[in-house]
Symmetry: C2
Subunit: 407 residues, 2 copies
């Protein structure tokens, strides 16, 4: 039963106390058995019963919970690096799409890829993501857009969750966009989602959540309501891509269907914030998408002051958010989203866990939780997101084992 | 005489051809002797005389010149992580300064530090900076602001240049701000700069450039003209911090004194751009400073279209730009500054070298240049700044030797 001692500050990130409260313990210690945390407190208050347990020296470094990336589109075919150049040259997302690029090119490449190919590519990415200190990840489908290809993607996630050490939860996002073969026949595609995809995903137990992209260029609020109500019947909990480019009632809908989270929210209305706060819907900020699409960043402080808990995620995908760097998203949520480093840390740990329904299992350093935490060679979390170097020396504990170390 | 072969694309970054032209060679090869590049071209055209030289396999990776960070404030006492939190909470730079923080707290800490302490701290930073692929760096004084403390800082840079492998050039920035003991006696401080500091720096050959912070809160255009003219008499070439917060004629002055570069420029006027283009003054963008001060980013494309060569640098310092991550600055100069990845690469290599007068020695992969280049496990530079992960596998060649490798 290892005892991690000599921690300068242990940021436990318990859920209570609001966005500011990371519940730090000075001179902290953590004790765990196998993959579960058994005891957390100050070094001087370690119970006598542990006195013969093996000690690991934290060398006066800080400890934070393993990071939780609660919004990614991990498995996809191909990449789109040249669209990045087109975008900075000023070509719009729609222009790029019309030129045969954009999301539909990823749909094509994802359909062409075999399950094994998607698995190999995603496994490599997941290994690198783990080295950054991410110990829990949410992964969406949504580049298949046929029954077969959506199931293929979700099966990749199931294989990853069975073979990789990270905690992984899957989300069905058949309602990501209308696939080209259903152009001008959107009602028929929605029927496929309702009558074929949702039942099959639920039957095979391939996802925990059902997500939908509510936007002028994607799905309407009414369509989303229909799809999310159906998904709830099948036990898939609602999540939403909401109010990214236009304020279209996405946040209000998220509250109405009692979604676990509403994500993006750059254009959220005041009413939407009030509704989300009332129904305890987590707001997920995705600043890397703003960075790469040159769109306004979400003013996270507006949500925090409105009583919404804000999670921070990468939105990792091959188009609008091609970096999987969660600390980068955290730093951006401070500089461009007006979160403090403590607020961003809470957003990338316990609130992110809450955004994927795992708040009782991961996201904080507390007894009963999975033993996932990072030892960082830094004086404070303020210093982490301030100095912001790509080469922070860290040791990653996942389920009680060291899975990566640069120390 | 090693031959690096099997390079998928060799981005030579020759100076000619404008911001877009990185002069790529497909299936390229580089040959060097000791620390100097001897031959560059396609693999199929390697002259017969080299046929018995040892071959290094680039494994079909790309090669770019060693990066040049042409604007840093490397040596300073202390850090200011808690100001980062104050800033995102909305407190202004002036409010922070009035509360005893800001640049003057770094001046205090730098004066208190011994030369050895500054050397040790800076050497550690420089080691980490080198791992990112930076092979040439410019370092400014400006936190001493007494004759003794400015010389102390510049001596640290001389020791670093003598003991560390990187190419390092020093800049005297006594005119960074008015030190507190000269508050309301600015003419007297300027007299110290003119009559004591500049002659001493020149006599001891401690700097190649004289820089000045031209801004409402710092030095006027007239004061800058006086100081830069004096520095030219002593052989120190002019550089300027210009037009960062207000459009105050800094760019125009840079052209007038034929400065090697004008840096920041977020608020540069159209006239300033015309003047800089005419006098061939390099414009240095510092997007990390915009990121951390929540100020507008420089629209680099405006400069490029106006005929100004744009370099990209970090501005690394403990206040407004606390990250030394030059690839981060490059990525930001694309997403927020509208440069393409190729333009940003030219900006962080040959144009950066030009901004510090080293364009004949470093900044491109050409015969006669220092053998400084990076082998990157990536398909293209578009992919580099698009995917933008902190864990790119690379091998750093500096003066012909591998100084760092994650491969």
């Amino acid at each position: 039963m290892p005892i991690l001692k000599n921690i300068s500050t242990l940021y436990t990130c318990r859920e209570d106390g609001g966005q500011d409260s990371v519940h730090p313990i000075e001179n902290g210690a953590v004790i765990w058995q196998d993959d579960i945390i058994e005891w957390v407190g100050t070094e001087s208050s370690i119970p006598a019963e542990y006195e013969h347990e093996p000690i690991i020296d934290a060398a006066n470094q800080i400890v934070v919970p393993g990071l939780v990336d609660c919004h990614t589109h991990l498995a996809f075919g191909g990449w789109r690096p040249d669209e990045f150049e087109m975008r900075v040259r000023g070509q719009s997302y729609l222009e790029i799409a019309k030129a045969g690029g954009g999301i539909l090119s990823t749909v094509r490449a994802t359909r062409e890829a075999t399950e094994d190919e998607l698995f190999e590519k995603s496994a490599k990415l997941l290994q690198r993501i783990g080295k950054l200190g991410v110990t829990t990840i949410e992964c969406k489908s949504g580049y298949g857009l046929t029954l077969e290809d959506e199931l293929k993607t979700l099966k990749v996630y199931r294989r990853l969750s069975e073979t990789m050490p990270l905690h992984l939860v899957s989300t069905f996002l058949g309602a990501h966009t209308i696939p080209p073969e259903f152009k001008n026949r959107r009602e028929e595609y929605i029927k496929v989602i309702l009558e074929e995809m949702i039942p099959a995903v639920a039957e095979q137990n391939l996802a925990r959540f059902c997500d939908i992209f509510v936007e002028e260029s994607a799905f309407t609020v009414d369509e989303a309501l229909t799809i999310l109500e159906k998904s709830k019947e099948y036990g898939l909990k609602p999540k939403l891509h909401a109010d990214q480019l236009t304020s279209g009632g996405g946040a209000e809908l998220a509250a109405e269907v009692e979604a676990v989270s509403a994500d993006h929210l750059e254009q959220v209305s005041d009413q939407g914030i009030r509704d989300m706060a009332q129904k305890n819907v987590v707001g997920v900020t995705l600043p890397i998408a703003s960075l790469y699409t040159q769109q306004p960043y979400l003013d996270c402080r507006r949500l925090v002051e409105g009583g919404v808990e804000v999670a921070v995620a990468t939105d990792f995908n091959p188009g609008s958010a091609p970096s999987y760097d969660l600390p980068l998203a955290m730093m951006l949520s401070c500089n461009h989203g007006r979160l403090t480093p403590a607020q961003a840390l809470k957003g990338a740990t316990i609130y992110a866990a809450k955004a994927i329904g795992l708040e009782n299992k991961v996201g904080s350093v507390e007894p009963g939780k999975s033993a996932d935490f990072l030892l960082l060679d830094l004086p404070s979390i303020n210093f982490w997101l301030y100095h912001f170097t790509p080469d922070v020396e860290k040791r990653v504990y996942l389920k009680g084992e060291v899975t990566d170390s640069s120390q």
